[in-house]
Symmetry: C2
Subunit: 199 residues, 2 copies
Amino acid sequence: MAYHLNSFDALVEQFRKLPNIGGKLAQRLAFHVLSMSDEQARAFADAVLDAKRTIHYCSVCGNLTDSDVCSICSGPKRDRGVICVVASPSDVIAVEKTREYNGLYHVLHGLISPADNVGPSDIHIKQLLRRLESDEVKELIIATNPTVEGDATAMYISKLVKPAGINVTRLAFGIPVGGDLEYADELTLTRAIENRREM
Amino acid sequence: MAYHLNSFDALVEQFRKLPNIGGKLAQRLAFHVLSMSDEQARAFADAVLDAKRTIHYCSVCGNLTDSDVCSICSGPKRDRGVICVVASPSDVIAVEKTREYNGLYHVLHGLISPADNVGPSDIHIKQLLRRLESDEVKELIIATNPTVEGDATAMYISKLVKPAGINVTRLAFGIPVGGDLEYADELTLTRAIENRREM
C-alpha cells in the first residue's frame, strides 16, 4: 500500500516546518503551489531567495534593510532626536503602521532574560550606547512588551542612560482602545489606574 | 515616513497570496524565512520548484504523480477490481490514510455543478468510462462529499455505469465516530436513520 509521491511530500514537509502551519494546511498549501502557473511558482521561490539574499540588519539601528543603512536611518525627514527601542524588526513595522512616530529606531534583537541565559551583552545594547555618544539624541522611547523580560530590559537601559541626561520614556500601558473594563486583567487595570491622566 | 524594504515586502505579499494565510501570518512566515540558514531557504525554494516541475496527473487515474502512471495504478498488490471515485487528489490522500482500501482510484477533478457551469463533460467522467471498458472492474465506490454537487455527480455516474453490470456503492453517511447525537444536524441524523444497520 506504499504511496510514494516524493517531491509533493517534500513540499508538504517544507511548509510544515514553517511556524503556525500544521499538517492539513501544509498539504493545502502544497496543492495550491501545484495549481499555480509556472511563472507564479517561480516568483514565489524567487521571493524566498531574494529576501534571504538581500535583506540583512541595518548597520546603524539593527532593523531589516536591503542596503547598508535602512531607509528610516537615512530618511531626511526623520527626527534624529528620538530613538524608539524595540525588541525585534516586527515591532518596527508595528510602530510604523501607526504613522504617528517620526523618530529613529533601535532594534535590540532580543530581551534580557536570565531564565534563558540572555544577558545584556547578548542583545544590541552596546550598539545603542554607542549611538548615544553623539549629543543629537534627546529622548529614548522604550517600546518593549510589558512582560518580565520587557520590563527588565527597559529598567536596565533606563538606569544606564538616564545619568547621561537623556530623557527616557516607556510606552503607556492601560486598557486597550475599544476594550472593556470588565474584561481587563488586574495587572492591566492596576497599570491603567497608576497611569491615569487628567482630563 | 516612507518605509521601503522591497524584497521583504515582496515575500510577505507572496505568502499572503496562499490560501488561509492572512497578513499577520504572512509577515511571521517572511521573518521565519530570514531566520533560516541559506541552505534551508534554498531547500524551501527548491521544493516549490521541484514539486511544480515533477508532479502532474497520472495518465490513468488523474491522481498526482511524478511518473507517467502513479504508484497506486502501477502497484502490483492493488486490487484492480475496485475503483474509488473522488473529486480531487487530496481525497486520495485522505482515503489512503485509512490504510483500509486496497483498490484503485479515479480522480474527477471537480464535481458536476450547474450553478458554476460545470457539466459532466468538464470533469474526468469520460476517462472513467474508458477505464470501465475492460472487464476487470467489478465495483465503483463513489466517495464524493455529501453535498448537492457530490450527490449530483454520484447519481450521474451511477446511472451511467449500472447498466453495464458494475456494482456501484457510495460511502456511508451518518454520525461521525465519537460524535454526539445531540449535536448532529438533522440531515446527518436522517441519513443515519435511513442507513441504520442490524447488529
